[in-house]
C-alpha cells in the first residue's frame, strides 16, 4: 500500500468574469485538474513538472485540504481523505506539511523568524521555545541571530530557508514542496535538497516536489509526472523519462533546459502557437495545436492514457 494514492482527481474553480459568462450562458466554472492519478510510497520522491498554469499548485492545495476536489479519491495512509472533516484535518495537518511557492508572501509579515519557524508546533499545542527555534534554523543553515528578524528583512533565499524549517518542524509523513528551491543560488539549492534528502533517509518522509527546475528533478526524484492543461501527459521513473521521453510535450520541455555555456546551442524543440486555457480546451489532444509532430487524427480524438510497464503516457503517436 502506498502512503498516498490519488485516483482520477478532478478539481474545479469558479470562472473569472462570471457575470459575463452567465450572460453568454457559458458554464460558471471550469476544470483546472481533469482526472489525475498517481501514488507515492513512504521514502519516495515524486517530481511534478509541467506548463505554468497546468494545475500543479492546485493539486497541492487539494492534497492538504485547502481546496475541495470535485470528484476522485485521495487515500492517505490507508484512509480516504477527499471528504475529511475539519476535525480529521486537525490531525492530518500534523502528518502532511507544505512549503509554499511564494517565499516572502507566504510568511506572515508581523511575526519574527523565531515565531515563524515554531508556529506549527504551537498550533498543535507543543512548545516552540527559543532552543527549538535555534535548532530548526540550524537545520536550514541560518545563524541564530536571525531569530529576531522580520520576513521583509530577509533575502529571497533566506525566506525560502525559513519555509523549509517550518515544514520540517512537525516531522511530517508527507512533505509537499512547491518550488522549494526557486530563488536559491546553486550552492544553497544543493544544501536544501541534500537536507531534504537527509531528512527523508532518516524519517522515511515521502516527498512531492513541484518544480520547474529540471536539473533538480533529474537528481533528486525517483519518479516524475509531466502535466499539461490539467492532465498528466507522461509519468514514470525519472531516469527512464530523461533517457527517452514518449510524449512530445515532455520532449519539448526537456530540450528547453539551457546549458550553462554561452556557446552551447543544443537542439531545441521550439513550441509555437497559442497557450491553451482550461476554460477553452482544444478538440482532440490537448497538445495538438502546439505539437511539432501532430497529425490530422490528433485534432479529432482525445488520446487515452497508455500504460507501458512502470510508466505511461497520453499520446497516440509516441516518440
Amino acid at each position: 500500500m502506498s502512503l498516498l494514492e490519488v485516483t482520477d482527481l478532478r478539481i474545479r474553480y469558479a470562472r473569472q468574469g462570471r457575470v459575463r459568462a452567465a450572460l453568454r450562458r457559458e458554464p460558471h466554472d471550469f476544470e483546472a485538474v481533469s482526472g489525475v492519478s498517481f501514488r507515492i510510497d513512504a521514502g519516495q520522491t515524486l517530481g511534478l513538472v509541467g506548463e505554468s498554469g497546468s494545475g500543479k499548485s492546485t493539486i497541492a492545495r487539494t492534497l492538504i485540504g485547502l481546496k475541495k476536489p470535485a470528484s476522485g479519491s485521495i487515500r492517505f495512509d490507508g484512509q480516504e481523505i477527499s471528504a475529511a472533516s475539519r476535525r480529521d484535518w486537525a490531525r492530518l495537518r500534523r502528518q502532511m506539511s507544505m512549503m509554499w511557492q511564494d517565499p516572502v508572501g507566504s510568511l506572515s509579515p508581523r511575526l519574527t523568524v523565531g515565531s515563524l519557524v515554531t508556529e506549527p508546533l504551537r498550533i498543535h499545542g507543543m512548545t516552540g521555545d527559543r532552543a527549538e527555534a535555534e535548532r530548526l534554523l540550524g537545520l536550514v543553515g541560518l545563524p541564530a541571530e536571525y531569530i529576531s528578524r522580520y520576513p521583509h528583512q530577509l533575502s529571497g533565499g533566506q525566506a525560502r530557508r525559513v519555509g523549509v524549517a517550518r515544514a520540517l518542524a512537525l516531522d511530517p509523513k508527507l512533505l509537499i514542496a512547491d518550488e522549494p528551491t526557486a530563488g536559491l543560488d546553486m550552492s544553497v539549492q544543493g544544501e536544501v535538497l541534500n537536507l531534504l534528502n537527509e531528512v527523508q533517509k532518516r524519517t522515511g518522509v515521502a516527498v512531492l516536489v513541484i518544480t520547474h527546475n529540471l536539473n533538480l528533478v533529474r537528481h533528486v526524484t525517483d519518479r516524475m509526472a509531466i502535466m499539461y492543461l490539467g492532465r498528466f501527459v507522461e509519468e514514470g521513473p525519472t531516469d527512464r523519462i530523461f533517457d527517452h521521453s514518449h510524449h512530445p510535450y515532455t520532449a519539448a520541455l526537456l530540450s528547453a533546459n539551457p546549458e550553462p555555456d554561452p556557446d552551447a546551442r543544443g537542439a531545441r524543440v521550439t513550441l509555437s502557437g497559442e497557450v491553451p486555457s482550461p476554460v477553452n480546451r482544444p478538440s482532440g489532444c490537448d497538445f495538438h495545436p502546439r505539437c511539432p509532430w501532430s497529425r490530422p487524427e490528433c485534432g479529432k480524438t482525445v488520446p487515452d492514457w497508455v500504460p507501458e510497464g512502470d510508466r505511461g503516457h497520453r499520446c497516440m503517436f509516441p516518440l
Partner: protein
C-alpha cells in the same frame, strides 16, 4: 539634484555604478549590504548578476530604481545615468524616471501587484501617462498579455492576482514592465516561477524587446544556463561585493575567482550522472555587520593563504579580459 559630472560616462554607457555602498540600519547593528560596487551597463546590452543568496543582488537592483527599504542608506558612491545621480535623486525626480525610463520586474510578483485590484485595472493604471483612450489602453494591455503568452488574455483582465497561477502572475508583471518601454529594465529573477519552455520564451522576448527598443537589461538570476543564454556581460557578487566581472564567455569558459569557480561547479546542469548528493560550497556568508578585513571569501576559499587575511583584494585584470577581486590574479604574485 546632482549634475556634477566629473567623469561623464562614455557614450555607449547607459548607466554607471561608481563605488556604491549601501547600509541597512537594524536594531542589532548596521548591515553593510553593498560595498564599493563598480559596474557599467552598456546601452542595448544585457548585464547578468549572479551570486549567493543574500549577497546583495536585490539590494543593488532596488538601488538602481530608487526603491531601497526605509532602513537603507546609500553610504557612498554614485549611480550615473545621463546627467542624473540616481543614488541621490529627489523623490519627485524619481516619479518621472520610474515607469518611463526605468522599470523593474520583481523576484516575488506579489511585490508589484495589488491583491485587491483586477489585473485589467492595474494594467490601465500603469498607462496613466499615455494620452490614448481607455479602449486603446485596454487593447494594449491585452496585446502585451498575449506577448507573454497568457491564454485567454481578454478574460484575464477581470481576474484578481490570487486567481492566477504563480507563473501567470509573474508574466503579468513582465507585461506591465514592457508596457512602459523603458531604457533600462531591471529583472530580479523574473523566470524562476516559470516552466522551462516558457522561461526560454520569456528570455527570447526580453532579447527581442531589447533589440527592438534598444533598451538595456539588468538580469538577476540563479539559473546559470539562462544567464549564459541571455547575457552579454556578467557580474558575480559575493557578500556585498563584485568579485568578478567580464563577458559571459570569459566567465563561463575561464572563471578566475575561486568563488566563481565554486559556483559553476555547484550547477547540477554540469553534473552529467544523476546524483542524490549535490555539491555545495561549505561554510556560510560572513556577518555583514563586520565584513572581514581581508578577502570576503577567505573563510570558504580552498586556495587562501596568509595575504588573503590581511589585504583586501582590489579588482585585478584577469586572463580573459575580466576583472577579478582575488590576490591570485595579482600580477605581482606571479612575479614573486
Amino acid at each position: 539634484m546632482s549634475t556634477q559630472s566629473t567623469a561623464a560616462p562614455a557614450d555607449d554607457t547607459l548607466l554607471a555604478v561608481e563605488g556604491l555602498s549601501v547600509d541597512f540600519e537594524t536594531p542589532r547593528g548596521t548591515i553593510h549590504a553593498l560595498r564599493d560596487i563598480d559596474l557599467t551597463v552598456p546601452k542595448g546590452k544585457v548585464l547578468g548578476i549572479v551570486g549567493e543568496s543574500g549577497c546583495g543582488k536585490s539590494t543593488l537592483a532596488y538601488s538602481l530604481i530608487g526603491l531601497l527599504a526605509e532602513n537603507a542608506r546609500v553610504a557612498s558612491g554614485a549611480i550615473r545615468m545621463g546627467d542624473h545621480d540616481l543614488a541621490r535623486l529627489a523623490p519627485s525626480a524619481w516619479r518621472d524616471l520610474r515607469g518611463t525610463r526605468i522599470a523593474m520586474i520583481f523576484q516575488d510578483p506579489m511585490t508589484a501587484l495589488n491583491p485587491v485590484t483586477t489585473i485589467g485595472q492595474q494594467m490601465l493604471d500603469i498607462q496613466y501617462r499615455d494620452r490614448i483612450g481607455r479602449n486603446a489602453k485596454r487593447a494594449r494591455a491585452i496585446e502585451f498579455l498575449e506577448q507573454v503568452q497568457i491564454p485567454d488574455a481578454a478574460s484575464k483582465l477581470a481576474a484578481y492576482p490570487h486567481q492566477l497561477s504563480g507563473g501567470m502572475r509573474q508574466r503579468v508583471c513582465i507585461a506591465m514592465a514592457l508596457l512602459t518601454q523603458p531604457d533600462l529594465l531591471i529583472a530580479d529573477e523574473p523566470t524562476t516561477a516559470l516552466d522551462a519552455t516558457l522561461e526560454m520564451q520569456i528570455v527570447a522576448l526580453l532579447r527581442d524587446l531589447q533589440r527592438k527598443f534598444g533598451c538595456s537589461v539588468v538580469f538577476v538570476s540563479h539559473h546559470l544556463g539562462t544567464v549564459a543564454e541571455l547575457c552579454d556581460d556578467v557580474a558575480v557578487m559575493y557578500a556585498g561585493e563584485v568579485v568578478e566581472r567580464g563577458t559571459a564567455r570569459a566567465l563561463f569558459h575561464d572563471p578566475q575567482h575561486p568563488y566563481t569557480q565554486a559556483l559553476l561547479d555547484c550547477d547540477p546542469a554540469r553534473i552529467k550522472v544523476a546524483t542524490r548528493t549535490l555539491p555545495t560550497i561549505p561554510g556560510t556568508l560572513p556577518d555583514l555587520r563586520q565584513p572581514p578585513a581581508g578577502c570576503a571569501f577567505r573563510a570558504r576559499c580552498p586556495r587562501s593563504w596568509g595575504r588573503c587575511e590581511r589585504d583586501h583584494p582590489p579588482l585585478y585584470p584577469g586572463a580573459a579580459g575580466q576583472r577579478v577581486r582575488c590576490h591570485l590574479s595579482d600580477p605581482a604574485e606571479d612575479a614573486a
